[in-house]
């Protein structure tokens, strides 16, 4: 187990280094930080001093090592656009994105899995057909259109829910949360549905396909022959065995939830990291883009690691046979 975690961490290292190299190349070769920081009036001596202070006269690898060293400590310099430390900006925006993403993931899992189980068990019921048609729509509508439609129906026509912002937030230390106020909770509804809908339909279809597969196997027939209750067979035997692929996909999809949070945050003017990033792309604000890139890479690597570890919890075969892990 420990050796496995270690080998996974060693595999993740080159990925992070490649991403760091890209981020560093953006810093080093895109735009000219010296002229941006100096402004209009400067002497040649001032310029040389700044170049030396920033370490830009050092060889490439020294600069890169320094960049990685700073990045490990969460130090990415100042935003060109807002003239504030990038780490501070991201820390300020992170709670909004994380709350939105976890609500979306919760919706996708807690609605998607039961719907998938239902459509797998009762294939011919009209409700299953309705769910499947609904999922086809969910897959083909782009995220931003879902958001716009929800705003049109629930904010403009019905006036039930707010169409932008986080509502009221409560500050707990460095974390601002919308979970504790009514307005904050109401503001979460539409964005989380928008963000979670695609994942919901994906998980539902996956669980359904896996259930259909598992229900045909011999051990399910045997379990029924033993006279076990339907509920035990369906949930204890069948559902449990569908979980390995579901965990993989759900884990990897959490990454794309964070990516698509950019779109959802733009539609709902949600003050999270995605909105910060898109504003930075528009303004060519390299430090923020580089930091966001590194952060996302870290999240993805971490998710992959957690997914691998969850296999151990769900699939006893892996604990017995270490060799099979390398094949995954």
């Amino acid at each position: 187990m420990f050796a496995f975690i270690l080998s996974r961490l060693l595999q993740a290292l080159p990925v992070m280094l490649v991403v760091a190299l890209i981020a560093f190349a953006m810093f080093a070769y895109v735009g000219d930080p010296v002229s941006i920081m100096l402004g209009q009036d400067f002497t040649e001596a001032q310029r040389d001093a700044l170049v030396r202070d920033l370490g830009l006269d050092q060889p490439f690898f020294v600069q890169f090592a320094r960049f990685v060293g700073n990045a490990v400590q969460g130090e990415f310099g100042l935003s060109y656009r807002l003239s504030r430390p990038v780490a501070e900006l991201i820390a300020e925006r992170a709670p909004a994105t994380l709350e939105l993403a976890s609500c979306a993931a919760a919706i996708a899992l807690f609605v998607g899995v039961p719907m998938g189980v239902f459509t797998g068990l009762y294939r011919r019921s009209w409700l299953s057909r309705f769910f499947l048609t609904f999922s086809l729509i969910g897959v083909s509508l782009p995220t931003f259109l879902i958001g716009i439609l929800l705003i049109l129906i629930f904010s403009v026509w019905l006036g039930w829910l707010p169409s932008f912002g986080r509502g009221e937030v409560v500050q707990i230390g460095a974390w601002s949360t919308g979970f504790l106020t009514g307005a904050g909770l109401k503001a979460l509804v539409l964005p989380s549905i928008t963000l979670g809908l695609f994942q919901l339909t994906l998980i539902m279809r996956l669980v359904r396909a896996e259930m259909l597969e598992v229900l045909r196997t011999d051990y399910i027939k045997f379990a029924r022959a033993r006279g076990l209750a339907d509920r035990t067979v369906n949930f204890g035997h069948a559902l449990k065995n569908t979980l390995v692929p579901v965990i993989t996909i759900a884990g990897l999809q959490f990454g794309s939830i964070i990516a698509f949070a950019i779109v959802t945050e733009t539609v709902f003017q949600w003050p999270g990291m995605g909105l910060l990033f898109i504003q930075s792309v528009g303004a060519a604000d390299i430090p923020v883009m580089a930091a966001y890139l590194m952060l996302i890479a870290l999240v993805f690597v971490a998710i992959n690691l957690v997914v691998d570890l969850l296999y151990f919890a769900v699939d006893p075969r892996l604990r017995a046979d270490r060799g099979a892990v390398r094949g995954t």
Partner: protein, 304 residues
């Protein structure tokens, strides 16, 4: 020509097509969208780029069937008195152009990489496929956004505005090549050890020649299916980028740009400015995707 047509209507593919109502319906919708987009300059009711024909008193007209609708503006008009239908047709043209070019670009890149990696093997293979793996870890929309952002930062503003269309095509194309590379590599690995390749090597043809004239034609089959399915993705990616305001320039609005502009008027109740371009986008993408699904099943001998 007639013989070729007769052969086509006699083929398995046509038989399977005419037996599938979904495929026929999506083909009709796709042809309508593509036809409307390509012929937009000639058949659109109004030229949305000609400021002389715009009249501010025509602004915010609801669709023709509403109470205050105007038959001259079948789907209503926007804030500048532009006919929404004409704007959609011209916008679909840009969306389609970017989508097709981006798919061609990623096909070209992916097929070259896959062919090289599969045929040469060894270090080249390991390196190229590792890059593909790393890129596949990240959602492609994120890759496209980053590429677009970096190019934007690297170029001066005026230069960027001029070549923005190419930047978007490049960004979407580069975000999607690994899929092609993986598929082509897989089939190249199979083809490489077949006897005809061995024969070609024995008579002393160069590696490049064998790869291009012998292996390539035999690995292109699955590429067609992936390319069709990717067209839908590319059109959506372009719409998403443009919706986020980092895609095509506002002087050449695509469907995504139209949706973004219309979004500003949503709260005041002028829903048609944003919803109709959205409907057009979904119709186009859905029909292309369903056609791609059908093609995949029709070309798969195991499902026949």
């Amino acid at each position: 020509m007639a013989a070729a047509a007769a052969r086509f209507f006699d083929s398995d593919l046509w038989w399977s097509f005419s037996r599938s109502p979904v495929a026929v319906l999506s083909a009709v919708v796709a042809l309508l969208c593509i036809g409307g987009a390509v012929l937009a300059p000639w058949i659109a009711p109004q030229d949305p780029f000609d400021l002389a024909t715009l009249n501010l008193s025509d602004a915010f007209k609801p669709p023709a069937w509403a109470e205050e609708g105007d038959a001259g503006f079948p789907l209503g008009s926007d804030d500048q008195g532009r006919d929404v239908l004409s704007a959609i047709m011209h916008g679909a043209r840009v969306s389609l152009l970017v989508g097709v070019c981006a798919v061609l670009f990623s096909t070209l890149l992916g097929v070259s990489v896959g062919l090289t990696a599969g045929y040469l093997g060894g270090t080249a293979d390991a390196l190229l496929m590792r890059i593909a793996d790393i890129q596949l870890t990240f959602p492609s929309i994120l890759v496209a956004l980053l590429v677009d952002g970096v190019v934007r930062a690297a170029l001066p503003r005026e230069t960027h505005d001029q070549i923005a269309l190419f930047v978007v095509i490049f960004a979407i194309g580069i975000s999607n090549w690994p899929q092609f590379a993986r598929t082509v590599r897989g089939s190249t690995l199979v083809e490489r050890n077949k006897e005809y390749v061995l024969a070609a090597r024995v008579i002393g043809l160069s590696r490049l020649r064998i790869m291009l004239t012998h292996v390539l034609p035999n690995v292109l089959g699955p590429v067609l299916v992936i390319a069709t399915l990717n067209l839908g993705f590319a059109i959506l990616a372009e719409a998403t980028l443009s919706f986020l305001g980092v895609g095509v320039p506002p002087t050449q609005p695509s469907l995504g740009t139209l949706i973004r502009i219309g979004n500003d008027f949503l709260m005041s109740g002028e829903w048609w400015i944003t919803i109709f371009p959205g409907v057009a986008l979904v119709a186009m993408v859905l029909s292309v995707n369903l056609l791609g699904d059908w093609l995949r099943d029709a070309l798969n001998p195991r499902l026949r």
